[in-house]
Amino acid sequence: MTDRRPKVAVVVFPGSNDVDDAAWALGALGGDAELVWHGSERLPEDTRAVVLPGGFSYGDYLRCGAIARFSPVMSAVVEFAAAGGPVLGICNGFQILCEAGLLPGMLRPNASLSFVCRDVALRVEQASAPFTSRCQRGQRLVIPVKHGEGCWFAPPGLVEELERNNQIVLRYEGGSPNGSVGDVAGVGNERGNVMGLMPHPEHAVDPLLGSGDGALILASLLDAARDRATALV
């Protein structure tokens, strides 16, 4: 029944603190989330997708994500991504993927220097597998952010290049809460199977808690994970 409930490896770094919400949300949406300690050198055998959750890995020392990227498990994550497996980084997970060179740009302290913790409106710029297949292009999503260093930076010219390659997946609507270049909230790699975003879809999977829009992103990921399971059989 692996196909029905695809295995999603949720990586736990020292200092990750959104692990349980991510695992719960993925489970509630039909996935089989398995927590994987960062010291592990491999992912569970039947892993169909990987999520790097939010938090403050290694206390955000040096630069956010700079130390976590050298965790033993990251070699397995890089290998999984290279094989086309979907990898989603949320908040600190996004920072780690940028530091690891799996995603373009990097995340800097918020321009305001204030920690932001509130719902933000996002615009879906790309509606495609594996992260936004359940959305429409131009759709407005409401998902919370909570970060002090979410100001995505890319050198001049890179944003335009990413735009041409359809790698800008999500933008903040009505202004960026952190000063990110081009109001970018979520960006993918060239191949499209790795994405990072600052907002927390795992905190927005039930309208009872303000918004269920995050479920669209996580359910898209699970669709892709299921397809991958079928393709690999």
Partner: protein, 79 residues
Amino acid sequence: MKATVVVRPKVGILDPQGQAVEASLRQLGFSVADARIGRVVDLDVDAVDVVVARAEVERMCEQLLANPLIESYEIEIAG
């Protein structure tokens, strides 16, 4: 061998910390501009000579201590 690495935000990179500190210094009556905040890393490197130590620290900077996208670095080795 003692080594010191100074990591700075590259020219043109937004440095909100530097801006906040600059504003604060101005408030105190100092006439300053372009405050930039970086990081200092002191190390004791196990190396046979200065050349080897410098090469070693250079590799540390490239791999971990600085992010070339936004930061520049300077290495000082006290032989």
